[in-house]
């Protein structure tokens, strides 16, 4: 496609391969100054690879990068910064124990007589930047005290201090509340007015339609389409992303319920949880909703035995769980898919097969010896069933894309004969196609009688997947709804802590 005439950043025929996978295959992208350009695509489509190339973290195998019309080489992060490209990653790169001002001017401190740092000027300039963005905090605040949304703003201020001409944002709203998202959009609009080009990488198509001027779709490392947002629709985009038309959400097919399998009573922890009680029946999906800091993950960890519990009890099929023993939890049929799949879920240096079979080693071994053939057969079943994209079962899991890694984790738990499974943000950072697959799997599992707890911060997922909804705020349960009685506004009110909704089971 012909590059736009006033493109500030022009990427042409960029390719990049890693062992076993071609991450980018001759892709093009052009970004104009003053435009918000969305980059969307399934996991493994190549978006983060491209960002990392632009950020100087990876080096392209082939292709050209043009900045304001002239070819440039980006081999290190400092090359990228010098050009005026600033990437705001999902994992923010601020130094927590330093102040906002120190972070904004890190590596570019204003100097007195070229020697010592001019702190007055530094904090003055920081204040100016914060005012421009509309962030209401003092520049001397230490960054660790800020919310994720505020930290994001600090990153943007940092970009502005470097007079960035291109700002690339990677999944910026995944950790933000709706209000904070609005604020971010306002800031982005202000950046637009200054002629800064913004590359906005996201999974959220509503945001693309609301905020962006143009949208580019990648699939399997290739450029699929690049259009004005006004000339396309979410359905078109989904089709481009997935290569086929699919229904993004589907209702639960089945709601048969058995006996109570999981019984949580008055669970309290030292730091967060306060008297949390609920029950999950076999074949039922309980969705737990809450904003950041609500205590969902704390609940999951406490239920599983990873964290200490102060009072209360957890029982599976009537048998009480001893606290602090994860091996007992798994033996009793409780599975836990963590929120932080790389950090806590996967053993990255191990292969796909080894990760899948990790909790089930006793089932595939005899006299302590692992039966290789059985390991291979069982893992292959899951790889086929879930369409996990991997060159082989022996491929180390670190080389897989995020969505496929998540499938490996899901396969891991499904390989065990579980009674209850806790899924913590099972589709976060996963593309539309894989999301639908995972929802379908959840449905299937429920129809097999499994008790399922899904923790999510995505409303559509919550409403689509749950039989019974629980809302948490600040470590307490503030709302309970059945699938039929659930309403978005009420759920949100409970999540903010404004109102409490109790509901009696029919």
């Amino acid at each position: 496609m012909a590059p736009a005439k006033d493109a500030v950043l022009d990427v042409r025929k960029i390719s990049k391969a890693f062992p076993g996978v071609k991450a980018l295959d001759a892709v093009d992208l052009s970004l104009r100054g003053g435009e918000v350009h969305a980059l969307i695509g399934e996991n493994g489509a190549g978006k983060s690879t491209l960002i990392k190339i632009l950020a100087g973290v990876y080096f392209k195998d082939e292709g050209d990068i043009l900045f304001n019309g002239s070819p440039v080489e980006i081999s290190t992060p400092s090359d990228s910064l010098k050009l005026g490209i600033k990437v705001v990653f999902q994992e923010l790169s601020l130094i927590p124990h330093m102040t906002v001002g120190e972070n904004v001017f890190l590596e570019s401190f204003p100097l007195k007589n070229n020697r010592t740092i001019d702190w007055d000027v530094l904090y003055e300039k920081t204040q100016d930047l914060l005012d421009t963005i509309g962030l209401d905090i003092t520049p001397k605040t230490k960054v660790y005290k800020l919310t994720v949304s505020q930290q994001q703003m600090v990153e943007i201020a940092r970009a502005l201090s470097h007079e960035a001409k291109v700002i690339i944002m990677d999944e910026p709203t995944s950790a933000l509340t709706p209000n904070e998202v609005d604020h971010l959009f306002n800031v982005i609009r202000k950046l637009k007015e200054r002629g800064i080009g913004i590359l906005y990488v996201t999974h959220k198509l509503e945001e693309v339609m609301a905020l962006c001027d143009r949208v580019t779709v990648f699939r399997d490392g290739k450029l699929i389409s690049s259009r004005e947002v006004s000339e396309t629709s979410t359905d078109n985009l989904v089709t481009d992303m997935v290569g086929r038309s699919i229904q993004t959400l589907f209702p639960r097919s089945h709601a048969g319920k058995g006996d109570v399998v999981l019984d949580v009573r008055s669970l309290s922890t030292e730091k967060k949880l306060r008297e949390v009680s609920f029950q999950v029946r076999g074949g039922e999906v309980v969705g737990i909703f809450g904003l950041m800091g609500a205590g969902r993950t704390e609940l999951a960890k406490a239920m599983f035995g990873l964290d200490a519990v102060q009072s209360g009890s957890i029982s599976i099929e009537g048998q009480e769980l001893r606290q602090g023993s994860t091996s007992q939890s798994t033996r009793m049929g409780l599975g836990y898919l963590t929120e932080d799949r790389k950090g806590e879920g996967l053993v990255l240096q191990m292969s796909v097969a080894q990760n899948i079979t990790l909790p089930s080693l006793e089932d595939i071994s005899s006299a302590g010896f692992i039966k290789r053939k059985e390991e291979t057969t069982r893992s292959q079943e899951f790889v086929d069933a879930f369409s996990i994209k991997t060159p082989s079962l022996r491929q180390k899991v670190m080389y897989l894309s995020g969505g496929n890694q998540q499938k490996v984790l899901l396969a891991r738990w499904l390989m065990k004969k579980l009674k209850v499974i806790i899924l913590d943000e099972p589709t976060r950072g996963i593309d539309v196609g894989a999301k639908a697959e995972i929802h379908r799997l959840i449905d299937e599992l429920a129809s097999k009688g499994l008790a399922i707890v899904v923790m999510t911060s995505e409303m559509p997922e919550l409403l689509g997947v749950s039989d019974h909804i629980i809302v948490m705020c600040d470590g307490r349960i503030t709302g309970e709804f059945s699938r039929e009685s659930a309403e978005m506004e009420k759920i949100l009110e409970a999540a903010i802590g404004q109102k409490e909704y109790r509901y009696a089971e029919q």
């Binding site: 983060s48 963590t338 806590e344 053993v347 240096q349 909790p359 080693l361 302590g368 010896f369 897989l400």
Partner: protein, 328 residues
């Protein structure tokens, strides 16, 4: 087996990832170089010497490899070797029984390992610090126990043959080493506990979530490591024919650097016994070379020090090379 993968990237990157092959090549090259320097190197007796001398390090290396794989380390094995030697000799002298002496030595090893393990899992003391402390405690204690070397009073035949005997043409220490090596090779790669070691070192939380009793596993590995070191200590005391309180100084550093040279990572989750074998052989061959080439023997420790730096440098390069490949 955790074999290395290749990738696009600098030559150095590729090299460090083709680990075992490079190591064997290095071993061959160094051996060839020494052979050129002196005809003494390539003779049956010298090779057997090297193997016998390496057996202590390699036996300890088996335990150390497993421990490093779980993400822990043990710097006390040198002092333990001395303590075990002194205690074993002393008990044999007092009871006239090799069996009891060996039992005492192994028991001491097991207890040390248990303490190391508990300090790490219950007191949550970093294993580097914890085992340095143990190293000091053991070294001090052995002098408290016996100020001078404990001479072999009874000169029992069985005891002598542990370190100096032969089965056919094979030195007994080499046989012990081979047996232990093969057994643990199988355990590490084929059994459930072996798999769990890698998981624990690779990602402890993931291992816990998968139901692995991580603390127990670590304690067990610490015990195994110390028992292996005790076995080395028993072979050593037999070789020296007396329990020396100052034995084993620097032993732990040599073993650890050989294991890391062989591809086991300080960070845990990676490592092969094959690599350890070759890594330690390289170190031992270099030492042997220095002796038979009649170089200044103090060079041994200088070169060992350089190799430690080299080994950790390569380990870091490997880590970086691997992380460059990770996609999100």
């Amino acid at each position: 087996m955790f074999s290395s993968e290749s990738s696009k990237g600098g030559l150095l990157t590729k090299l460090v990832l083709f680990n075992e092959i490079i190591l064997v090549a290095v071993l061959v090259v160094i051996s060839a170089a020494i052979s050129i320097g002196t005809s003494q190197f390539y003779s049956t007796s010298n090779i057997l010497n090297i193997l016998r001398d390496s057996s202590m390090a390699i036996i300890a290396g088996i335990g150390m490899t497993m421990l490093l794989i779980t993400g822990e380390v043990d710097l006390s094995i040198g002092s333990l070797v001395a303590f075990v030697g002194v205690v074993t000799m002393d008990i044999i002298n007092k009871t006239n029984s090799v069996f009891l002496g060996v039992l005492a030595g192994l028991g001491l090893g097991a207890v040390t390992g248990l303490v190391n393990g508990l300090v790490r899992t219950k007191f949550k003391v970093n294993s580097l610090i914890g085992t340095i402390a143990m190293m000091m405690i053991l070294r001090g204690s052995v002098y408290l126990y016996k100020l001078e070397a404990v001479q072999n009073y009874h000169q029992l035949e069985t005891f002598y043959s542990v370190g100096n005997g032969y089965l056919g043409f094979m030195p007994i220490p080499v046989i012990i080493m081979v047996v232990l090596y093969v057994v643990f090779l199988v355990i590490l790669y084929r059994t459930v506990p072996g798999r769990r070691l890698y998981a624990t070192g690779g990602n402890e939380i993931a291992a816990k979530i998968s139901g692995i009793k991580v603390d127990n596993l670590k304690i067990l590995t610490f015990v195994a490591n110390s028992v292996f070191a005790a076995i080395s200590g028993i072979i050593l005391v037999s070789r020296m024919n007396s329990g020396q309180p100052n034995a084993g100084v620097g032993f732990e550093l040599m073993v650890i650097s050989g294991v890391i040279l062989g591809g086991t990572s300080l960070g845990g989750g990676e490592g092969t016994l094959v690599g350890t074998l070759v890594g330690l052989l390289i170190l031992r061959v270099i030492n042997n070379g220095i002796i038979i080439l009649r170089w200044n023997q103090d060079l041994q420790i200088v070169i060992s020090g350089l190799i430690i730096i080299l080994a950790v440098y390569i380990d870091n390069k490997r880590k970086v090379a691997r992380s460059k490949i990770i996609t999100t």
